[in-house]
Symmetry: C2
Subunit: 326 residues, 2 copies
């Protein structure tokens, strides 16, 4: 039977995975706001350096999950995790009794909100390892990688998760089902909590410059994330810091996602990546002074940006709710 | 007998104290580079909100200390402390056997360089507590404060220092002779090492915003400076952190000197204030992770600024030596 999927937050990442599921035969609808008119008229063009180019016409193109017609087998939340976006409200209207709630999002400790809001639904946590950009409305450029990791909460792998993995594999990308998705989230945070804020606070340095100039500092932040993860019951490999450092030396100089958000005036995932990690440390009685410093400085940077907008933009309004694809 | 004084680095602070000494009857010459032509023609105008306005015509206006004619009783170094400026070379040509070397500069652990270079001269370390700006060439606006602290190295007070204090007092500002000038330097660093870099890394927030948003972080940095100072033999008062926090809440929102340098594209005193403190901590086996983070981020910020200049300014040259009044 054809799987019915609704993707909420069909920006670069949401749009890309939506297109893959459609390619594999699922009936895929999308909620997108900023590009709604364009996508409704013309659908998506996916230009992948790995999988080639193809057009993707969603089954339904919506402004809001409440407009979804039918019963979704899976609802994907692919928005950024920022305080002004209510993750639960974004998807709730389209969540039925049999809908599996999947979130492909960055950050740590973002599970509880979903488990509490949908206690009777299957909840699947996902991580995307991908470089892709929205080039213009409805056009997504997939530059590199694309691997997904999916796992049920609490730690398990359901048949629905396996089916989803199968669909992604059929579409041509790697997708692993794991019982340790929460540990994997901490693992991804080792890189994100260091390079993302450092790229912003340095004023825009690429990863290689940061590493060459301040490797010891980067390692301190990474080690603190490992310590917090362990205190939270997610012991990471002893080699993970070295592996992250070596991989980053081997990468081409890279602009982080937080830096791209910063440069485009979009809200950053400071709370999901840094704030949640610092709060987990406090709760567990773990010291993390380097991470704490970086978090404090990111909060100051955000405050300065907000004051700058208020001062110089007569049209500026305090963000109340956030578009899911921002 | 009239004291002969040469002020090297007659920017805002150097020019102001030069003018005060001249007012008190000393024979005062200056080395200034960027405003050399203007000052040579027209001298200085000092506009003080406390002491009124007056014109100051230096005895000699020089491009370089080597051009000084005569024997200075005092040579003042008032430049910023930055790696590209050779403090010793800036003054050496005008230092005679009987010259007292005075430096009115920010930073900690900046004494040894002077003691090593001039082992047979009297060395006087000074701290200025002042708000003053160079408004345009030769014109200095003195906004508030002005107090000086002077002390001989190693810890003592000489007759020459007392004479200097007397001259400053005659000119209308407070000047204290102290046997604990090195301790006072650490004391001043408590505020400088926190608010200076935070104002830059936040993207330009005034002190009050920084404090209201991240008081705990500011306190952590301040406490680390106290710990380092104590390990270096300079125990600061238990109340110093609270006093600094309370005073800053009471101040009008204030742009730090490092922020002004940053905004004007001038080099910052990162090494003198943060680098020297971190190195003192390492040497003494003291942990200072918050300070270390702030220092690492300032180094990244400086790297980004240097790369930006290289990329976008075709006339940009790596700084080789620095003008003393920059």
């Amino acid at each position: 039977m054809t799987s019915k999927v609704l993707i909420v937050g069909a920006g670069a990442i949401g749009g890309f995975y939506a297109a893959l599921l459609a390619k594999a035969g699922a009936e895929v609808s999308v909620v997108c706001r900023s590009d709604y008119e364009h996508v409704k008229q013309q659908g998506f063009i996916i230009d992948s350096r790995i999988l080639g180019a193809w057009a993707f016409t969603p089954s339904q193109v919506l402004n809001n999950a409440a407009d979804y017609k039918g019963t979704a087998d899976y609802i994907f939340l692919c928005s950024k995790v920022i305080p002004s976006a209510d993750r639960v409200a974004l998807i709730r209207p389209a969540v039925s009794a049999d809908t599996a709630v999947v979130f492909i999002q960055n950050g740590v400790e973002i599970e509880q909100e979903m488990l509490a809001a949908f206690p009777d639904n299957e909840i699947i946590s996902g991580l995307a390892f991908i470089c892709c950009n929205r080039v213009k409305p409805g056009e997504i450029l997939h530059l590199a990688y694309g691997r997904l990791a999916l796992g049920n909460l609490p730690g398990a792998v359901s048949n629905k998760t396996l089916q989803l993995c199968e669909l992604f594999k059929q579409s041509g990308i790697d997708c692993a089902a794991t019982e340790n998705i929460v540990t994997d989230r901490w693992k991804k945070c080792v890189w994100n909590a260091s390079f993302n804020p450092l790229s912003v606070l340095s004023g825009g340095l690429p990863t290689l410059d940061i590493l060459q100039s301040q490797e010891a500092f980067v390692r301190s932040i990474m080690q603190e994330i490992c310590n917090i993860a362990e205190a939270c019951g997610h012991r990471l490999s002893n080699h993970i810091v070295n592996a992250n450092i070596e991989n980053t030396y081997a990468m081409l100089p890279y602009k982080t996602s937080m830096l791209l958000d910063y440069e485009n005036g979009h809200p950053m995932e400071t709370e999901a990546i840094l704030g949640n990690a610092v709060r987990a440390a406090k709760r567990s009685g773990i010291e993390c002074p380097h991470l704490e410093s970086v978090y404090a400085l990111m909060k100051l940077r955000e405050l300065q940006l907000a004051e700058f907008h208020k001062k110089y933009n007569p049209l500026y309004k305090e963000p109340v709710s956030q578009r899911p694809d921002d």
